[in-house]
Symmetry: C2
């Protein structure tokens, strides 16, 4: 059935019944605003996925798209050391959208939200020439927040997971490649892994001095930390965490995508040298990958990538900018 | 200059410098999230304007568009009896957008925000095939909130301002009409009037039992109050507040647009009969128009519009639904 046959309001009433009630919500979906009583520090972030810019329908499923729309916002909350709590969803879709497509989208979105104990409290629907998904996510920060501005000269630089896989996934989707390695990379592009557990440990133990999520490429996002913290950084090329798919498809020595590929949604953080044991403990207990990839240097030194033989590595492309012409 | 020549991050740095600092914001634009310490009841709403769905570039200016993007969200906060406080802005625009267009948009948005003592605390920018403006607005409600669910049988029904002008404005824009009456109606479509002052008086004196803003047409929005409050309503046709432009272009007796036209962003509320004097006082002191247009009846009676001669009036169209085929 098409949405235009069902109608916006009947669809919203149906949706309202699917959203579990949350005792912390004074007023949820169904009035002009949602109403909440919030305590402590509230985090807020908003991020938009646009069809044919961030995704193509033929590459993904609507359920995965719903999960990703939640995940990219949850990643920003994690990057501050917070926990997601409440979501608003502005969904703009073509008039001939199938209700089944919307249902699948909400399946994914609500599943991802539930897994992070987050309630959908409001939003709006509108017609548009293509799918555009604007999510606003709230979070709380019971242990304080980790900003981009606290990195100190001498700190270690760490990243979770592996780098460059999402950009590689996008590349193989564009090429239509479909071997095993390609499938693994695609999966990383289509739905990022939550790093909430690692973020929670880092903030609870006050281990990280600065943190950001890698959404526009490692060097660009590291650049944001360095600019805000007024420091530089040296990255050791051989220590960049590369997945088996990445090694198979790009080779061990091509670090371009690992340094500049967007949408990995891994956590990039800095921590004092004396926290190495505590961070190794997180890796052991959370069974989550964290790799030390370099150190913070003085602002004057800028950001550089150095190979084990001492040579400097310069990527052939910059990080992602939606508007910059290459 | 095109945005693609300046780049996303340089533009955002420039913008950051334009946004005034607010002592209530722990962390504003420039990190993964904004951070706030919020007390009491927090209101949240999100609304999206999509090019060629909600507006056409050739009809408006980017400054007016920025004002409207703020105003339609502020209207939802007013409709709960709240005051807007903080805004997030998800802005998706074509890659060849001129920086001057964005500057004009932010001129309007930030001016409207400042007039309502609201701080822009974050957002994101993305490429898109057309302009899409997703605003999330927070508000506070120091005197409690007015929901849609409190209307009682016997209550009066009131509306602020005049009805149908925005829909009429859209109509004359589509037709390319440009006499004096047409210009007045266009202005109502291009930038709605804030009703914050009336809302503030209503909630401070606990006068209204239910409230909503008229965004999808009077009958449809009254329908939301009636459905949620489990009541009916009788509207007196001759009491509908019609502007001189409306009377000139539609006539005194054609109530179609007044009953079903969207985007007026006036406040529709119900109040007990004994509050008539207090409400008349608001009209006098705030110099703001409020008109009593009918009364709340039992749920079984549904919603009807009656003319002075006792006859029922049935509009020839329904209220606005983005997806419903007429």
């Amino acid at each position: 059935m098409k949405l235009r046959d069902l109608g916006e309001f009947p669809f919203l009433r149906r949706l309202q019944q699917r959203v579990p009630r949350d005792a912390h919500v004074q007023l949820g979906i169904g009035d002009d605003c949602a109403a909440l009583a919030l305590l402590g520090t509230t985090l807020l972030t908003t991020d938009t996925l646009v069809e044919n810019v961030h995704f193509r329908r033929e590459w993904t499923t609507f359920t995965l798209l719903g999960e990703k729309a939640f995940a990219v916002n949850a990643s920003d909350i994690s990057a501050m050391g917070g926990e997601p709590t409440f979501a608003l969803l502005g969904l703009s879709v073509p008039q001939d959208t199938e209700v089944e497509e919307l249902d699948a989208f909400f399946d994914g979105f609500l599943r991802a939200a539930r897994a992070s104990h987050t309630s959908l409290i409001g939003g709006n629907m509108s017609a548009a020439p293509c799918w555009m998904i604007a999510v606003t996510l709230l979070g709380h920060a019971p242990h304080g927040i980790i900003t981009r501005s606290g990195a100190q000269v001498g700190d270690d630089v760490y990243v979770t997971g592996t780098l460059g896989d999402a950009a590689l996934g996008l590349h193989v989707l564009q090429k239509g490649q479909s071997d095993v390695q390609a499938e693994e990379a695609k999966a990383r592009f289509l739905c990022p892994t939550s790093r909430l557990e690692i973020s929670r440990s880092l903030v609870a133990q006050h281990l990280a001095t600065a943190m950001i999520d890698v959404s526009d490429g490692l060097l660009q996002d590291l650049g944001h930390i360095c600019e805000t913290s007024k420091v530089g950084a040296e990255i050791k090329g051989e220590q960049l965490p590369l997945s088996p798919s990445y090694r198979a498809l790009c080779g061990e020595r091509d670090w371009n995508l690992a340094l500049t590929g967007g949408e990995d949604y891994e956590l990039l953080f800095t921590a004092p040298v004396e926290q190495r044991t505590a961070i190794a403990d997180i890796v052991r207990t959370a069974l989550a990958p964290i790799t030390r990839i370099g150190c913070i240097t003085s602002h004057a030194q800028g950001i550089c990538v150095r190979a084990a033989d001492g040579s400097m590595y310069t990527p052939t492309q910059a990080g992602y900018d939606h508007f910059r012409t290459e």
